[in-house]
């Protein structure tokens, strides 16, 4: 459980370099309990690396990072992880319930689990509305079904911190809504969410703060503060325009902004690397 008073996530002067290339530096921020933090930025800006740092898979080049008051370590039971949807072979002999089951005891040595495992998996499947396809091969599940299973899989570990790496990629709007609502309902029970995405609009209603990474620079704050023409122009170093179309935010200028419909050319910040 989270130690009271210790933030679930704390970066202090953190940097990651790959050779001469700096992904980000001087990164300093804290995430509060039950906060929903969206991590945005163009490809190669180090969004996924940020998650790998929290998972203990990538050491910092400088600075410190803490998860619930301690340095990150591999396989922490505090953390749940939801990856992006991917294709499974339809013939792969792994059913929906087997994928979810990995979240309970997939990391443990041995052959068979306890008797309570099945009922726990059944409950997790029911919680995400996956009972009807529980015994279907994972390769025959739709993208949205698969991501609901991913939520169930991650929540079986009863995490205090949920790390999501583009979990909505290639989902249709209905599926996007269902998966986001599941993640948010867990957040409202006290789980902190760090959500990497390059499409802010589907999660805008749930997001507390946005961390925007561009070419080594970053900015953090509430969406209306960070997603402005002024802030993004400063980060990219080239003119970027942020438009509000109804409830949606559209970023025009950089190749991949927070919204859809941007032009497709590289910002200089990325080319220089």
């Amino acid at each position: 459980m989270t130690v009271t008073g210790r933030p679930p996530v704390r970066f202090d002067g953190a940097a990651v370099h790959f050779g001469a290339r700096t992904l980000w530096r001087d990164l300093t921020f804290e995430v509060e309990r039950a906060e929903f933090l969206a991590v945005l930025g163009p490809n190669g800006s180090g969004k996924t690396t940020l998650l790998k740092v929290l998972l203990g898979q990538q050491p910092l080049s400088a600075g410190t990072v803490e998860v619930a008051g301690s340095p990150p370590r591999r396989g922490s039971r505090h953390i749940g992880y939801i990856p992006q949807q991917r294709a499974f072979d339809p013939d792969l002999p792994v059913r929906a319930r087997d994928l979810v089951r990995f979240g309970l005891d997939g990391h443990r040595a041995g052959l068979l689990g306890g008797r309570s495992a099945r009922s726990k998996v059944d409950a997790a499947l029911a919680a995400v509305g996956a009972t009807s396809f529980a015994d279907a091969p994972i390769g025959t599940c739709s993208g949205g079904e698969q991501q609901r299973l991913r939520v169930a899989q991650a929540l079986l570990g009863d995490p205090d911190l949920l790390l999501c790496d583009e979990p909505l990629l290639s989902l249709d709007p209905g599926q996007t809504h269902a998966v986001t609502a599941l993640i948010d309902s867990r957040r409202r029970q006290g789980t902190t969410v760090v959500f990497v995405t390059h499409e802010i609009n589907p999660i805008l209603a749930y997001v507390d703060r946005v961390l925007y990474l561009v070419g080594g620079r970053w900015s953090i704050g509430d969406p209306s503060g960070v997603l402005t023409s002024e802030t993004l122009t400063g980060l990219y170093g080239v003119p970027v325009e942020v438009l509000r179309v109804g409830e949606r935010i559209v970023v025009v200028g950089p190749e991949e902004g927070a919204g859809s419909g941007g032009h497709h050319h590289h910002p200089p910040a990325e080319v220089g690397g």
Partner: protein, 281 residues
């Protein structure tokens, strides 16, 4: 001599026991071989059992021990050369080519009966000494125990490596452990069916099982059953039809099961689909 007479002879009992145990390990690794896309690793380590056998003959007149030690060396070489997953097949090809050349060279220096070395190409469990049978049994049991210990995290790492790594599963170490188990198992299987027909125990039973079952456990059970039926069925049949090599009969039974599974598979999978549609509606 009838089958019953043969079964009372120690050499036949030992061969059936060793063949059966080797088949169980083959049946267990088969689904992982398919999921991890390692058919070429099976083929490569199997052919290199020939080199190990030749070295074993030359050094201590023990082709089985030579092949088993050789398989560990081969697994280590492949692991060392393929730092990245996509390098793996080319590394195996390189090790395979160099190793086979070495095997031919070693065989040239051996002045005993060359059939001892070529036995491993086609398999001849009935001609293996009791000591060597015991070695096969011990290694097969050890491989089974190792597999049982790593089974669940290995399945997680094979199906879902990214999330497994995030959950703290040592994905890379497990890959190395599996490669070692695979090399030892395949070398053992080479004694039963020969290096050239190892896939009939290490892949075909698992491929048949995948046609019929949808769960990891179901596939593992069917794969083991099919492998044992093929291995011991082939050995038994060859006692009756002494003109035909056991490996031929093992491969034939294994393939026949596969054909039946192909025929029955669509019905089994359709049943799974119907149950899903029923639950949905």
């Amino acid at each position: 001599m009838g089958l019953g007479d043969y079964l009372s002879l120690p050499f036949a009992q030992h061969a059936l026991l060793a063949g059966g145990l080797v088949a169980v390990t083959c049946g267990l690794i088969g689904p992982f071989v398919i999921t991890r896309n390692m058919a070429f690793a099976v083929h490569g380590t199997a052919e290199l059992a020939f080199t190990g056998a030749a070295a074993g003959l030359l050094v201590s007149d023990n082709p089985v021990a030579g092949a088993l030690i050789g398989s560990v060396v081969v697994a280590a070489l492949i692991a060392a050369l393929s730092s990245r997953q996509r390098d793996r097949d080319s590394s195996i090809g390189v090790v395979l080519a160099a190793g086979l050349g070495l095997g031919v060279l070693l065989l040239g220096y051996y002045h005993g009966f060359a059939t001892q070395a070529t036995n491993i190409l086609f398999g001849n469990l009935f001609g293996v000494s009791t000591g060597q049978i015991l070695l096969l049994v011990v290694i097969a049991v050890a491989a089974m125990v190792c597999l049982a210990v790593v089974y669940r995290p290995l399945l997680f790492a094979s199906v879902d490596p990214e999330v497994a790594a995030a959950r703290g599963v040592p994905v890379r170490v497990l890959g190395l452990v599996f490669l070692l188990i695979l090399a030892l198992t395949v070398t053992e299987a080479a004694q039963v069916v020969g290096t050239l027909l190892v896939l009939s125990l290490a892949i075909t039973p698992a491929a048949s099982a995948q046609r019929l079952a949808t769960s990891p456990l179901g596939v593992a059970i069917l794969s083991v059953v099919f492998a044992v039926l093929s291995a011991d069925g082939g050995l038994l049949a060859s006692l009756q039809a002494s003109k035909v090599k056991p490996s031929v009969l093992v491969a034939a039974i294994s393939f026949a099961i596969y054909l039946l599974a192909r025929l029955a598979g669509p019905m089994a999978k359709q049943r799974a689909r119907r149950s899903r549609a029923g639950a949905d509606g």
